[in-house]
Amino acid sequence: MSTANLALNPELPPDRLLDGDHDYRSITDTVCQIVERPQPPKAWYVAFAVSSVLTVILFGLVGYLFVTGVGVWGNNAPVFWGWPIVNFVFWVGIGHAGTLISAILFLFRQHWRTSINRFAEAMTIFAVVCAGLFPGIHVGRVWLVYWLAPYPSQHLAMWPNFRSPLLWDVFAVSTYATVSLLFWYMGMIPDLATLRDRATTRVRQVAYGIAALGWTGSARQWSRYEKAYMLLAALATPLVLSVHTIVSFDFAVSQIPGWHTTIFPPYFVAGAIFSGFAMVITLVVPARAFFGLKDLVTIRHLENMTKIMLATGSMVGFAYAIEFFIAWYGGNPYEQFAFINRALGPYAWAYWTMVTCNVISPQLFWFKKFRTTPWLMVVVSIFINIGMWFERFVITVTSLSRDFLPSSWGYFKPTAVDVLMLIGSFGLFFTLFLLFCRYLPMVAMAEVKAVMPKPDTTAKVGNTASAEGGPQA
């Protein structure tokens, strides 16, 4: 795929973030041409057609669910949390890489993040959209979903229980969605201004003009902007960690064997970052090839991400082992049964799929070849995504299907609606993503310019400027 970059890479200085010969203008051009060219690549149309069909299927099924009831899913006694909750946790997890890259790596001054952060943040938002859909339609009577909100109501004459993990979850996920959106949008304002200033049609001028809010890039604006960005990053960092922690509380605060464990918060957070990065890789590798961004998103960026996946993947593997250890060491027979049942019971197939995909496949990233060959990364990442979906399936379904009372055990079977909704949620995700690629700046231009080495001014920028700007005084 990008053998040229690979060959080039070893000669570059280690702190170099971009490949190729770039100045400010060429960065602007590279990123803006994606949005500005009249026709996107053919592959975009194909992908968009497929994903929008899937989205239509998804919304069709949601409509069917509304008029028929949650019986269209496989959820039934004793597994009342079936695929919808599995899908919810899966998508929320994916949504963690974006804010991690933008916030945590920003606070740690990891400059390599600038090429991929916009991209990953967009992915976060779309993943959270998919995630929010599932609990939203899971409430049964969707037309009463506003009961989740603490509003003074004459009709109910009561308030929600603020000490319930499910309510915490409502607050956590909606705060996360809002703050990620603010962060993403704020980061994009300067780049939207660039698109506005380059716009040639009236529609683009007005649309990007409104979206850019009148940004001029003045020193005073930048000074406040950077402070605001830093503050948002500092706020988003604990937020990222809190969101999946609270999602894990949905399980851990209940008393079902296999859920009621203190390791859940860190284990969920590690898993979320793991799956999020896998999704970034799955998306960014094709995108950089199709849209000519190989100079900005280099092999070095990809390699760094694979290293993070190796680290978080190993944490997840460690957590799996510790769960078994604690079940044995804790001496609670129900807990012990829950874990033996996971590995050897009727869902053993799901458990071992999960272990193979999540524990074994990231270990391939110890090999340089896997860390630097884009297509291999994508293959491993797809396996990781599969594994992470199964992790949530194993946690949710095995524990519920066999808890304390053997007489109420059961075996969960998904329906066609379950399967199509999961596939449809991928359609929604990719539809939004493809629209983003087409209409918004995919790489944070201003940030890349700020961390790239100063171009040789006399040779390049100076020449163009004086050629346009007339004689010097």
Partner: protein, 419 residues
Amino acid sequence: MTTHSADTPQSHTVGLLAEFASQDELIQAGRTMRSAGYTSLDAYTPFPIHELDEALGVRPTRLPWLVLAAGLVGGISILAFQWWTNAVDYPMLISGKPLFSLPANIPVTFEVIVLSAAFAAFLGMLALNGLPRLASPLLRSVRFARATSDGFFLSVAATDPSFDPQATPAALRQAGATEVETLTESTTQQPLPRFLGMSLVVVGSLAVLPPLIIAGARSTTSEKPRLHNVFNMDFQPKFKSQTTSQLFADGRAMRPRIPGTVPRGSLPTNPEYEFGYVEPAAAAEPAAGDARQWVEEIPLRVTSELMERGRERFNIHCAVCHGRAGFGNGLVSQRAIELQQGTWVPPTSIHTQYVVEQPVGQLFNTITNGVRKMPAYGHQIPVEDRWAIVLYVRALQRSQQASLEDVPEDIRPTLRELN
């Protein structure tokens, strides 16, 4: 303020815009102009350049204080809100736990702190920057379009005390500007197009209609029958007790007991041992209260093991309400009294005279079936353990009625020191 040649009756000068070839030249020019006495300077760059803050004397922003304040206000308000809604306005009783417990209220408080601080950071940044501002003299300059790609600009506002229409452009060129242009702004306000205002009014009034209709429907009664959106939720196909059913030959929905089965707890082999009483043989109706012949002696061999077992079981099952010594002051009771629970009946002290006088069989029955407000524990405590508890209750009662003779002789002399 001086007037400038570019001024026409419709527009006036707001400042000068100078372009520079590179960021270094821009920073240098900024320093030069500032030391020349200009104060209303600003620079425009495609990305943040920190040296400019110092060169132009940009003061640090107040934004962090705004964010801190918003976070604090948000956090304190939501904490107070949780306390008021869950402990005051609609007290949530969950397994006798305190109505307000900080740890369980932290997650929501944390999320709201982050949310309000994040909004403050974003909106505060926009507000302090005077954004959104969709039209400005800068954005009308064609050259200025490069400021968001690769151009570097410096502006001097016409309001600057040192501004001079002739001298300032020269000074800018002197400082290295490749081009200097005058920024003008129209003096006549252009009103919004008429159709825009009209359509805003129309859309706005249409938007308030649905909430008004809903509010109206909610606050009035209707004579029409209720709408059933989800029919099978309002009318569920199921049988209730005492109703008919076509399913069975006898037409009853309730099923009689299947022959040969015995309901829970109705197969006494040894009523004295299992119930603690025997019914008078003649009675046709099940006997209650006085008609029962209570068992007077514990139907088990009384050993110190049984006593130990009784103590253990009592402390597990009874002490929470009755207290470890049986005075009716257990933790649950204390807590209920503390919370001023209207419906709470204090557990009877087992040292009350009428309880002391009860036969063991009656005590056994109290444990098995409960009494008045006290729940039954028969399903939870096996028969033998119930007798063990009765034995221990007897021992507790005895302890309060004891005389000096009951105390072993070797301990008697030390008794006073125990107080």
